[in-house]
């Protein structure tokens, strides 16, 4: 009895010490990487609770005996669940007479303009009511508070990085896994499946978007686009269900070898050959509609090659391991082996690619908004603040502060990537 308990204790102890806990331990030893990780978490927190840190609405206020939580209410109003009292619509937030009020740390919104204080530096005399309303990091030419802009910029930068990298992750994992696991001669598909899939892909695109072009261009673009996507996916599912059935006929079920590794590697080479910045510049200018969403998607569509290369290299190694043979012998399906058994063990290097990719994406977004291309004019970002500095050289705070933020975020992701490389590199394992 006691023996058994002891045994399970050891098991538990060993169970806790997974690959990831080993990696984490090694990662923690790298001081710069650890601090970078902490700063990242802090930036993430700032991005998430940004509305509560910098806002022109009070967190809490009491007017004529009624209590309000304007910042929270703002979310509800934007979602359409609630409406502002007319008095809030008529008078700016800072001109009410409050019985009690709690302002956020920075009582300004990033796009709110303070005409009395344009181009005021952190150390200048500011025309504000007391220390509470001081522009701690100065203002720009329209009197927009730089500190509030920095918080909004943090949100934009991290969002661009994370969304872009999520897209890159999905594409990169999928294609990299296929290329690495199957190689050039492992993927055998029946004729009918290849034919039906290509045919239904064309038809799905045609019926999903082509035939509905009027609704797409004139109606609600996003919902119509998603509907088209759903139609396309529906058709692809149909194609595969059909070919599951039709494969039974020997003439249709004859198998073709797809050199998937070659195809994916060519695709990677092609995407890498496209001058990324140029493509994004041209694309964003061509579609005219300025939205940060396009920037994110484009960066993601260009950045997946890094992830795919790492995953491919890992899977080339993993697919020869014994446990994969065992899984095959047990009769698991190919897809289950790839996504349940092989891929989770290839995730370590992917993290490295992701973290360097984050640095690249943030830098690219900053450069784009610095060039004033692709990011809407009214959206304050680190890059847009830095751009304004060029028009007014006296405003050193517009250069130093946002530039440092870009530098900091790029640095921490490079350090995290570096730390991960050291922590996960099998050659460095003791």
């Amino acid at each position: 009895m006691r023996e058994k308990e002891q045994h399970s204790d050891i098991e538990q102890e060993l169970g806790k010490r997974t690959y990831w806990s080993f990696a984490w331990e090694r990662f923690r030893k790298n001081r710069m990487a650890l601090w970078s990780w902490r700063i990242f978490l802090m930036l993430l927190l700032v991005a998430v609770i940004g509305d509560f840190l910098a806002n022109d609405k009070p967190l809490y206020c009491k007017i004529d005996g009624k209590r309000y939580f304007p910042v929270v209410q703002d979310y509800a109003v934007q979602a359409g669940w609630s409406k502002w009292d007319s008095k809030f619509l008529m008078t700016p937030w800072n001109e009410h007479t409050y019985q009690a009020v709690v302002w956020p740390l920075i009582p300004y919104a990033s796009e709110g303009m303070d005409y009395k204080n344009t181009y005021t530096g952190p150390f200048h005399d500011q025309r504000v009511e007391g220390l509470r309303f001081r522009h701690w990091l100065g203002t720009d030419d329209l009197g927009r508070d730089v500190a509030a802009g920095m918080i909004a910029g943090t949100r934009t930068a991290l969002m661009v990085g994370m969304v872009a990298m999520s897209i890159a992750l999905v594409i990169g994992l999928f294609l990299g896994a296929l290329a690495g696991y199957f190689g050039d001669d492992g993927l055998k598909l029946s004729r009918i499946r290849v034919v039906l899939n290509s045919l239904f892909l064309l038809l799905g695109v045609f019926w999903g978007w082509g035939s509905r072009s009027y609704a797409l261009s004139e109606g609600n673009q996003i919902s119509n686009f998603l509907l088209g996507l759903a139609i396309l996916i529906g058709f692809l599912i149909l194609a595969n269900l059909l070919s599951n059935y039709l494969e039974r006929f020997p003439s249709l079920g004859k198998r073709w070898v797809i050199p998937i590794d070659l195809l994916v590697m060519r695709l990677i080479e092609m995407v890498n050959a496209i001058p990324g910045l140029l493509l994004i510049l041209a694309f964003v200018a061509a579609i005219q509609e300025e939205s940060i969403l396009f920037v994110m998607v484009l960066i993601g569509l260009l950045a997946w090659t890094g992830v795919a290369r790492f995953v491919r290299a890992e899977l080339l190694r993993i697919r020869r391991m014994e446990y994969i043979d065992a899984a095959r012998a047990l009769g698991f399906s190919q897809w289950k082996i790839i996504f349940r058994h092989a891929l989770p063990n290839a995730l370590g290097p992917v993290l490295i690619a992701l973290s360097f990719g984050m640095a690249g994406a943030i830098l690219l977004e900053a450069a784009l908004s610095f060039l004033n291309i692709g990011v809407p004019e009214e959206q304050v970002t680190w890059g847009s603040l830095l751009r304004e500095a060029r028009n007014y050289p006296k405003a050193w705070w517009l250069t130093v502060v946002p530039g440092f933020a870009i530098f900091l975020s790029v640095t921490i992701f490079n350090y995290i990537g570096d730390g991960l490389t050291q922590a996960l590199d099998p050659r460095l394992k003791e």
């Binding site: 496209i274 250069t399 530098f407």
Partner: protein, 469 residues
């Protein structure tokens, strides 16, 4: 070796073609009418009589009087001759009408009727009812651009009211107008939106816009700029010179400093120099160069902070007939800051690579052999180690090629140097798409060549590569 080379070069072609599809597809999505941009600048007076002819001529000279591609895969509702309607705005309206109602014969009849009504209208003497006539003419000029039901009806109603108010006008125009209104009503009553869901494959052959564009691109004819009608290749050539100077200098200095630093750090691994230089280079590597450029411009080119040491913008503006050396110094003085900004970033990268590769080499057995033979440290490092450690640096050449073309976009923009990057951003601002997409294609080609050259060099220095397959 030859087969390997041949294989690599052959792979080059499909990649290039795929990228050309991307560039061409994007250029087709751009807003604005290239013909209007190129031949009818905004300040030219509008002359309705010659406009149509002039437009056709211009479209032909730009090669836009053809179908876009070898084939099209669209719905059966679209006619295969839509591209023959030259004016982009009208073509767009018609295809939007088709996308709504799906019945081209009726839409075509409506379109023809519009022309008939227009000629009837121009036959009416101005003296008849000049005010109403002006209004009707304005409306009818608007009509071919409208596809939304509400707007078309409003325009038609407005014309109807104008006509009915004047008996003389009504007498002359009513029959033609009624047919026009009737035609529009038919479009709606006999709509066949189901036809939009019938796929149709149309073959156009080699006489198409893509073929025209790509075959001329290969020959080095990039078309004309929509902005000033100058050849794109001329504009690119002028810009390329500055970019080459800028990046050439930056790459030269970067290698000049990076290689000794990298080798020294690797040889004295773990010593103070190594630790500090590694940390410093990592720091440099993360420093966004457009921030550094802005900082330099703000602090070193303004009297504001008492350090007005460098010129802020441009590349010097001495006349061409100034003595060579004074022009040289003027340009050099202007290029110090931008070259610095470009140098430090690649410096950090190359040096880190050099250090890594040197470290790898120093663990090899032949290095130990060389030391054991009693060779001096200098010979071991430079002759045995460094030569072998250079191989990975060769692959960096693949990165350098495209950098020469498009690597300095932001820096050129900040320092107002009229290079490729500046030209790109300027052209995007002016919607001068032939320039933008030519640069994009060139960038891709140069990148591909870079990859190719790196591969070939690698195969030369490392025989294992060429015998593997």
């Amino acid at each position: 070796m030859t087969t390997y080379l041949l294989k690599r070069i052959l792979w080059f072609i499909p990649t290039l073609i795929a990228i050309s599809f991307l560039a061409f597809g994007l250029s087709k999505c751009t807003p604005g009418d290239p013909v209007m941009q190129a031949c009818f600048p905004e300040d030219t007076p509008f002359n309705e009589d010659v406009f149509e002819l002039e437009y056709r001529r211009c479209a032909r000279s730009l090669g836009l009087d053809r179908p876009s591609f070898y084939f099209s895969l669209s719905s059966a509702a679209y006619p295969d001759t839509l591209y023959r309607i030259q004016q982009m705005a009208r073509r767009t309206t018609l295809s939007k009408l088709i996308a709504q109602y799906g019945n081209w014969p009726e839409i075509e009849a409506y379109y023809q009727e519009m022309k008939i009504f227009k000629s009837t209208l121009s036959a009416v003497p101005d003296s008849l009812a000049s005010y109403a006539l002006t209004n009707i003419k304005a409306d009818i000029r608007f009509l071919p651009l409208q596809y939304k039901d509400e707007l078309v009806r409003r325009t038609l109603d407005s014309i109807a009211v104008q006509i009915q108010e004047n008996a003389l006008l009504a007498q002359r125009l009513e029959p033609a107008f009624n047919t026009l209104a009737q035609r529009y009503a038919t479009i709606k009553s006999e709509a066949t939106p189901a036809r939009l869901y019938v796929p149709d494959f149309k073959w156009y052959g080699a006489r198409n816009q893509y073929h025209y564009w790509f075959s001329r691109f290969i020959k080095g004819d990039f078309g004309i700029s929509l902005q000033d009608r100058r050849p794109v290749s001329r504009k690119i050539w002028e810009a390329l010179q500055w970019t080459l100077i800028l990046n050439g200098l930056a790459i030269f200095f970067a290698y000049l400093i990076a290689i000794p630093v990298g080798v020294y750090a690797a040889v004295h691994q773990g010593k103070i120099f190594d630790r500090w230089s590694s940390a410093f280079l990592f720091f440099l590597y993360s420093l966004p160069n457009f921030w550094v450029a802005t900082l330099l411009i703000i602090f070193f080119t303004n009297a504001e902070y008492g350090m007005d040491w460098f010129p802020a913008y441009g590349s010097g503006n001495l006349p061409d007939d100034a003595p060579f050396w004074s022009r040289f110094w003027e340009v050099a003085y202007h290029l110090i800051l931008p070259v610095f900004c470009l140098t430090y970033a690649s410096l950090a990268f190359i040096s880190r690579q050099m250090r890594g590769s040197m470290l790898e080499v120093s663990q090899q057995l032949y290095m130990r052999t060389a030391k054991a033979k009693g060779l001096s440290a200098r010979v071991v490092i430079w002759k045995h180690g460094f030569r072998n450690a250079l191989f990975p640096i060769i692959t960096l050449i693949a990165n350098i090629f495209p950098r020469v073309l498009t690597g300095s976009v932001v820096i050129e923009w900040i320092f107002n140097i009229y290079g490729m990057g500046w030209l790109t951003i300027e052209s995007i601002g002016q919607k001068d798409w032939p320039v933008v997409f030519s640069i994009m294609m060139l960038g891709a080609i140069v990148t591909l060549i870079g990859i190719l050259v790196a591969d070939i060099l690698y195969a030369f220095v490392d025989p294992r590569v060429r015998y593997k397959k």
